[in-house]
Symmetry: D2
Subunit: 341 residues, 4 copies
């Protein structure tokens, strides 16, 4: 932590800050410039933060220097990128992973139909929600355990590993029986008890960025999972909330190179929820691949107009093969090979 003193701070004020830093067992390193003085406080960040030096006489502001996450940091793996294995599929590094499926598991037929299509067109995994976080308590909340069974059946038939969301720590054991990757949704990114519990399952986790979460907060959420000994975390950008109302969310593709610099974890993009409209999903998918993403998680539906949830943003199954081919071409220009079994 760097403590920047105001211009004209007195020696007494500087010494008072030094004294308080040392009082919590940290060491203080004073660096006096022409105009102002900066005090480096070396030791536990939390302890110095807790001193509340922001308000202290002569103090201008505090600058945290150390990153608050450790296991998620690029330094933790000395710059090497993590390649995560999920049932034989590789995520991260030079691999590009296409995860596709319905937003919501609605029926056995729908789930199997979509699963077959995406399997045929080279998707690496199947996505689908049995437990759905819905803004309205009056909306369909998912099929729950029955939905999990349909996903299991789709997996048995197609061989595709399953990515599915859990919202409630009490459902984890059920979900864990089917899921090859457990998804934590954007609204639960800072649901810390859930993160820790999911971390303890050891099952790979796809962690969506909260809609107003900074990259640092996303990595701190990942840290909750990693801390439990679960090293297989996939980060997911799915659109952030901004002033622009022309679309549901603003897809933040700079997050891809930025997260790659900060962390060793793979980064996938969800183009469906930001766009909110089918015809904008393909351009955003290609853009994600071009930006260097490690994969895409996209919604596909056999009858999008009949979908219970988020139909307007689902790609129709009949367009999926062409879509997957174009994504593959762009990923290759960006230096990635599409991940298959």
């Amino acid at each position: 932590m760097m403590i920047v003193m105001k211009e004209g701070a007195t020696q007494e004020q500087i010494q008072a800050v030094v004294g308080r830093v040392e009082s919590v067992g940290c060491s203080a390193h004073v660096s006096q410039g022409e105009l102002l003085t900066v005090i480096g406080a070396i030791g536990e960040r939390d302890r110095v933060t807790a001193l509340g030096l922001e308000g202290a006489p002569g103090v201008d502001h505090l600058v945290p220097i150390l990153k608050p996450y450790k296991l998620a940091s690029a330094q933790f793996r000395k710059g090497e990128r993590s390649v995560i294995e999920v049932d034989g599929r590789k995520v991260g590094g030079d691999h590009f992973t296409l995860i596709a499926g319905p937003c919501t598991v609605e029926s056995r037929e729908q789930t199997l139909a979509v699963a077959r299509t995406v399997a045929d067109s080279g998707a690496a995994m199947l996505r689908g929600g049995a437990y759905k976080p819905r803004t309205s308590p009056y909306s369909f909340q998912g099929l729950g355990a029955e939905g999990l069974r349909f996903l299991q059946e789709a997996k048995d038939e197609t061989g595709l590993p399953v990515v599915t969301e859990v919202m409630d720590a009490r459902d984890i054991s059920d979900v864990a029986e089917v899921a090859d990757v457990i998804q934590i949704g954007a609204r639960n990114m800072q649901n810390y008890p859930l993160l820790s519990e999911v971390g303890r399952t050891g099952i790979p986790v796809l962690l969506k960025r909260g809609l107003a979460s900074t990259l640092e907060e996303l990595l701190m959420a990942a840290e909750y999972v990693l801390k439990e000994g679960n090293e297989r975390v996939i980060l997911c950008e799915r659109g952030i909330r901004t002033f622009e109302t022309g679309y549901r969310f603003t897809l933040d593709l700079l997050a891809v190179p930025a997260l790659h610099e900060l962390s060793h974890l793979p980064v996938v993009i969800d183009p469906s929820h930001a766009a909110g409209r089918r015809d904008w999903v393909k351009p955003m998918s290609l853009a994600a691949a071009a930006a260097g993403a490690d994969g895409i998680i996209v919604e596909v539906h056999n009858e999008p107009e009949e979908a219970i949830c988020d139909g307007p943003q689902a790609l129709p199954t009949e367009e999926f093969a062409d879509y997957a081919e174009q994504v593959r071409q762009v990923a290759e220009v960006a230096g990635k090979a599409v991940s298959t079994v």
Copy 2:
């Protein structure tokens, strides 16, 4: 739902939209202007949304007309404001409620010391966290059950009702034994299973606005609680996330009159978390009272410099009486009387 057609949409396109609206059991009401046509779809909003008409030929955009929340709406109580009773204290209407206490319950001594001070200066309730959501997994996570016991003791001694947070549905029964008001934190505003469970306890709920949640989303979250038959929900604005980095969050005081127009529920302000600094808490508290808030929930500490969590933003106990008096004066100009027993 209003479906606005593009300029130059053809009769065929208009009829196609009408047909699809009617196919899901809604009725369509076509209103042809000079330049463009608007189709009113009357029936369940979700069904029309699910049609995905955004992409349909000739459609420009959709405008939702009905508010998605019902029990939380001002109309539900025909414009009358809810006055919520908590152990004899009134929240809402003409009452101004001061809720004060430490951010985190750290020890028996600290909890009792702060509780006595705020009780003496006219606070209506005691706040304090036993379970703390922390951005970092390495930070102190609260005393848990032991913290709840200290809160019980403070309540027994001072008579102040207790407001305390729950983060995990599995802790609700423990928390419910002590809490007079259960707090849902900003990070859990859209943790729907938690909202429903808390709703089922029947204990009053203080629901904090998520840091990037719209007022409509806040009211939808309230709806999850209300739907379980729990009518005592207090809304809380605590700062939203914006581009400005000069403070932790931007306190959004327009939310007070706006929520009062949309909903019958009381609205309190948390000035501590937005400001993040003790010396900015008082101006923001006075501003909240002036804006017509139904109360304030503020952090107070007997030794802020020793606080484990958020010490920099806690008011010191010795300044609390003066603070409370100034808040009272401003609340009176705004037409409120401070709520006491």
Copy 3:
């Protein structure tokens, strides 16, 4: 304009609104649903807005229906896309236009060196600033008229049309002598006198989106130029301001398909200012091409480490040819051919 009445609005309230709408020469069309009533006000949007019906008894909210821009709208050209000619180069439609050059014109040598490189690698136009808007009054403000001369010389030698910024209406005549495209910077997007004056020159305009401007506001700014009879406006997304501090701005690529739907005007992307870092410029450039942009305007420097302004984000000239080739490949997957003479 749609006026949505509150649930339970009385007939008197509805009639009062109708009366006021008619009093300003608009016609009112009442549409009574089961739960609520919507009044369509047909006529000039500004007149109805001026009535201030938001506060009127029984009124819930107002929904504008007609788009406030006309000449910029997709409907104005009946869905056909504008292809703008600049000295033989085409912008828009199936063309992809690469505009490259230094942020700031620093010297004759630098300008010529960069111009030669980008001309050799297939850039369609040369960018470079002689008048620079700088956040600090103490920063270098551009070479002014001398800078314009260097741009003229580069244009004479390479044949590349020149894109350069104007900030002050009093400089327009000087700039107009050299510029083939006049750039309006993000900070001046709502400098209306400047927009009108630039419109009157008849010279093509590259209009950058303000950093917190909605797409609608961008199109309204374009309308100021178009209204003067100048049809050649190129829209430019250059990053918007959000809560994320990991980069200078958040590049908003959804603006590409969204603007293409709303307007017939071409849309180019400036990847340099959002990223603020050279190594993030290429991924964002590829992403822009993949998203369907009509072009890129990018900063290139022969000695980025010596650049007076924004050196950290400039591509070095020696990497430009490879960069341009990769952008071309991605643009082709997105259905565009790179525009050359």
Copy 4:
């Protein structure tokens, strides 16, 4: 400037950075911690920034330490607050200044009627726009020179100093004949040629914060005016753009204490443009006074329903006296005395 090196940065990388810092005439001060090394670069901030060290091997990130504004900084006046005199009225310090009048000057009668009312109720200055920045080129753009004459007449009759906006440097000489305070609107906050020109007039300036401008950018804009030798700058917060669509802008009252800490300049609040609705203007005005603002600039109209521009947010003249009295009461609790002649 502090240059934070990555964990594991080598001695070579550290020395390379030191070398580059020294190569531009700055001195480098290396501070080696347990985990990482921080290099303090002492000298001109711009020179170090221009090095583009963000991308350099081993560098993690850069932290600016010195504030980029000087004349606007609190340090410049050693913590003393500026009290600005405008024709005998004082702004800043312990004074609270109420500036009121119509949004737009529409006619002689309207201007005089409003001016009389606000003069009678103790407003210190008259506001009113003759040149109006309008989002749409089709909206009324102000009466221009004729409007200035009406303002002059109102000033002659009531003795109130006049605050009026200028948008175009070419209008400054006309505006300067009438204006006692020249207003720079939010959209022009970064119109640097305009700021410099207005600075050169020596007339006091009311500078509105851009709708997505940080406090630092606002102070940098003030610096453009101050640099010309014009010391009388009044800062104005008028609402910022956020994700919330429940109101036109989000009024950011934390800006008041924050700007008071950063700068010696007075800070006034415009509650009308953020709220956009008359009934929300009073609560926000009281909140502004409670937050410690040095004044309010508010819109008042004798016939708000007939107003050409922004009628819905204007206070009616008949309510103004009560309004002013309540604002006065709250300002007093916050320690301010209302400024009159």
